[in-house]
């Protein structure tokens, strides 16, 4: 009696390309544990994807596209964490937030970044100057060399995205 079992398309994809993907990620990250993590996350995405693994004509390109998106997310996250920690380092020690506060702040910043990711850098910059730094529109306009009307248009776009994220 044969004990061969049917291998699912995703298992086949994993068997054929996991090693290649890990190496591909390792070359970009320079760290084997991180590469392993992202390779794992890539296959989780494949499992959740609506694409059928057995129908893929270019499986390596498919995997690379997913992995590249995860890489970009990871770099964005690191950039945000780094910026936040730099801002913290510039503050007096007495104002240092607890680890929980740090975590919540970084998570909030990540959510905001993700929310506003589709907007232009300028619109995001204006939104953050207004909502995080508390600058008035005329102050933002003066700082960026824009008119107040341009700042208002940018804020309208940003609020539109916030609204869509919450209610649509």
């Amino acid at each position: 009696m044969s004990h061969d079992r049917i291998v699912s398309p995703v298992e086949q994809l994993y068997a054929n390309h996991h090693s290649w993907l890990r190496g591909w990620l390792h070359r970009r990250l320079g760290h084997s544990a991180d590469a392993e993590d992202l390779a794992h996350d890539t296959f989780i995405r494949v499992l959740r994807s609506k694409h059928e693994a057995h129908e893929l004509r270019q499986p390596m390109a498919f995997l690379a596209t997913i992995a590249n998106g995860l890489l970009i997310n990871r770099w964005r996250r690191q950039a945000i964490e780094r910026a936040y920690l730099e801002a913290l380092a510039a503050r007096p020690v007495a104002q240092e937030p607890s680890p929980e506060e740090r975590y919540l702040t970084i998570e909030t910043l990540l959510q905001l970044d993700s929310l506003l990711f589709g907007l232009s850098t300028r619109v995001r910059q204006i939104f953050f100057l207004s909502q995080l730094d508390g600058l008035t529109y005329p102050q933002i306009a003066a700082q960026l060399g824009l008119s107040v009307a341009q700042v208002q248009r940018a804020m309208g776009k940003a609020f539109g995205v916030c609204y869509a994220s919450c209610f649509e």
Partner: protein
């Protein structure tokens, strides 16, 4: 939140008002117009 669907027109006007309120540049007449708009949409 009431859960009542908001039409795109109302949404866009509401966003426009939020922006104008935040700008700190609203005149007394603007505040009055906002009040009227809110009453009309209620």
């Amino acid at each position: 939140m009431s859960g009542v669907p908001v039409t795109p027109g109302v949404r866009d006007t509401a966003i426009d008002w939020i922006v104008r309120m935040q700008s700190g540049l609203m005149s007394a007449a603007d505040h009055l117009a906002l009040q009227h708009w809110r009453q009309a949409c209620a």
